[in-house]
């Protein structure tokens, strides 16, 4: 019951923001609107200086390239980001979440499959489960494989190409 109340509140709140803060902009593909939220500002600025500014907007990397998935993700991200933004409860600096990283990884391949055909199996069986971890190489950068399992990518484009979208360092 209490839970229900909270959710209800969240919904109301979220919905309010969603409209007011042009949360609907999530349904658009104009980068400027992502920047609507000042906290996205530095990414927008960095993106404008990035190698992709002319070729890929926020949505091209952060939204699934198939229609249904696209709107699902937009709605969900748009809604939750709106909630988070309004309540002010979100990590600073921002860290991409596994499922969103997986979306980005997928996006890279959609555009670059031809280039990477030789080195990347694209979608395939889930990556080998790593035994042991410990001091083993990839063991210490968990997020390197976060979300990859989800899409079955064997390895991460952004592990090496972290700079492509917007390097905020």
């Amino acid at each position: 019951m209490l839970a229900a109340a909270v959710i209800g509140a969240a919904l109301g709140l979220g919905a309010y923001t969603f409209i007011y803060a042009k949360g609907a902009s999530y349904l658009s593909t104009d980068p400027a609107v992502c920047a609507n939220c000042h906290i996205m500002g530095e990414h927008f600025a960095a993106w404008q200086r990035s190698s992709h500014r002319a070729v890929a907007g926020c949505a091209d990397c952060h939204m699934p390239h198939d229609l249904i998935g696209k709107y699902a993700a937009k709605a969900s991200n748009g809604f939750w980001h709106s909630v988070a933004f309004t309540t002010g409860r979100f990590p600073d600096p921002l860290l991409i979440k596994p499922h969103n990283r997986a979306i980005v990884e997928r996006a890279c391949r959609d555009c670059h499959e031809a280039v990477t055909a030789a080195i990347d199996a694209g979608e395939g069986p889930p990556p080998r489960v790593r035994a042991g971890a410990g001091g083993t190489p990839t063991g210490n950068r968990p997020q390197l494989h976060d979300g990859l399992g989800a899409t079955g990518e064997e390895f991460s484009c952004t592990f090496c190409h972290t700079y492509v979208g917007h390097w905020v360092r």
Binding site: A114, A117, A118, G122, R128, G134, P137, F159
Partner: protein, 463 residues
């Protein structure tokens, strides 16, 4: 998935010209299917040097015993102290800067180290394409083949091999996936994992793709020794990869590589522990693999492929480093040199320290039975192994910069304690105990509970 299945998703970049099987060693045949990788692979004959790496092409007049017209520079001539450091061991005879993979077989066959000592077939494990020869000799059983070749006289075993490391040593001919084909690594990594409580580790089954991009190199770029009369190639990883763990391992089984000609101490020689050192570094910790730097992706036409011209990344900074480090080539090179120069400074200090101890021991050869002298010899063994661990590692500290200097600092300290022992001063009997044997050990700060809640003092902020 395989390179060929990738066809379905995208234009298949490779034309299957020949049918590759598990018995084809000759890279030229593989090259028919993968000409880009093969062409790069052939480039490992190039000799270009950097401040501490690469190699210098030194012309020589071929002789009957050694037909090589070009060799790499002699490290012994570069630093004559090494002859003293390794007095009585084959390395004091001939030790050169290493060069590209194309030379691995010839350089092993013709090094003078072959003439001053009887070498076993084991040597070939890391200097030739061994997969097919091992399988043949073992009648389809890799390990059996390995065990058959190890004890053979080198010259005899040599007849069974025909190429330097080749495609088949790192790749599965059908899927082109990476694979480990070296018994030494298969057994070594399994022992290491066991020490981390990971049972029955099968690298070809359990490793991630990114790990394989390092493990294929770890097949050879590691410290090793020949165990027992069977001369079984063994990687001393049972207790871990740290130099301290490896030395502890050798202490436990009492192994010695040779008896030092001047001090009479039973000593050890470390050899190319790239894999071990790399694992202590920030790149390994960050998931960066050997191949990321030494075989970086390069764009060839419409494709990106792995640069099979394995070499010093400093000869290829843009591909090897700049994707991750958005800095000028010059700045990147300078960062590496800064690390290497510091390591080189400590390396030189450490070698001097060990040699001082050696000279001290030499003067006491007469009473080498005296407990003080025996203890001092143990310290030489430690100091020498620690020094060698960095000297023999080929990145001059880059793979693990702070660790390399920590090791050398310990080496100098072991030398210092060895000299104290010679003076009859009390020192820990076990060199490895020295680091913890401080007279006044401070309360290990680490043992304070982590981060208790904040506590406001009386302050004075605005007084």
């Amino acid at each position: 998935t395989t390179v060929f299945e990738r066809k379905q998703e995208a234009r298949n970049p490779f034309y299957r010209v020949v049918e590759l099987t598990d018995t084809i060693s000759d890279p030229e045949v593989w090259g028919k299917n993968f000409p880009l990788q093969y062409d790069a692979y052939l480039k490992t004959v190039d000799q270009v040097y950097t401040r501490y790496g690469g190699s210098e092409a030194v012309p020589r007049t071929p002789t009957a015993v050694d037909p090589r017209a070009v060799v790499a520079e002699s490290r012994l001539e570069e630093d004559p102290r090494l002859r003293e450091l390794w007095a009585g061991y084959a390395f004091a005879q001939d030790f050169r800067e290493e060069r590209g993979h194309a030379y691995m077989l010839d350089d092993q066959v013709f090094t003078e180290r072959q003439r001053v000592a009887q070498q076993p077939g084991t040597c070939l494990h890391c200097h030739a394409s061994m997969y097919v020869p091992y399988m043949r000799a073992g009648g389809g059983d890799l390990i059996k083949g390995f065990e058959t070749l190890n004890p053979m006289p080198y010259a005899e075993a040599r007849k069974l091999v025909s190429h330097p490391v080749a495609c088949i040593d790192c790749h599965d001919p059908e899927t082109m996936e990476l694979r480990v084909t070296r018994p030494g690594f298969l057994e070594g990594i399994r022992a290491l994992k066991a020490s981390q409580n990971v049972g029955d580790y099968d690298v070809n089954r359990d490793a991630t793709r990114q790990e394989m991009r390092t493990y294929v190199c770890g097949q050879c770029h590691v410290e090793y020794y020949f165990k027992g009369t069977e001369k079984r190639l063994t990687y001393p990883w049972e207790r871990g990869l740290l130099v301290d763990s490896i030395f502890a391992y050798y202490e436990s089984n009492g192994h010695k590589d040779w008896t030092h000609a001047r001090s009479g101490a039973p000593v050890l020689k470390a050899q190319h522990p790239e894999f071990e050192m790399y694992n202590q570094g920030i790149h390994a910790r960050s998931g960066v693999a050997c191949a990321d730097c030494h075989m970086p992706y390069e764009r060839v036409g419409a494709l990106k492929i792995s640069d099979h011209h394995v070499r010093s990344p400093l000869l290829n900074i843009s591909q090897a480093c700049q994707t991750c480090h958005k800095l000028s080539e010059d700045e990147i090179r300078q960062r590496v040199y800064t690390i290497q120069d510091r390591t080189f400074e400590m390396r030189n200090i450490a070698i001097d320290a060990v040699l001082d101890l050696v000279r001290g021991l030499e003067q006491r050869r007469a009473d080498s039975a005296a407990p003080a002298v025996r203890t001092a010899q143990r310290y030489q063994r430690a100091a020498q192994f620690f020094t060698d661990f960095v000297e023999a590692e080929n990145s001059m500290g880059f793979h693990a910069d702070q660790e390399a200097v920590r090791i050398l600092g310990n080496a100098v300290n072991y030398a210092r304690l060895g000299q104290a022992a010679l003076r009859g001063e009390p020192v820990p009997a076990e060199p490895l105990a020295a680091a913890d044997a401080s007279a006044h050990r401070p309360r290990p700060r680490g043992e304070r509970p982590e981060r208790p809640g904040a506590l406001g003092g009386e302050g004075g902020g605005t007084r």
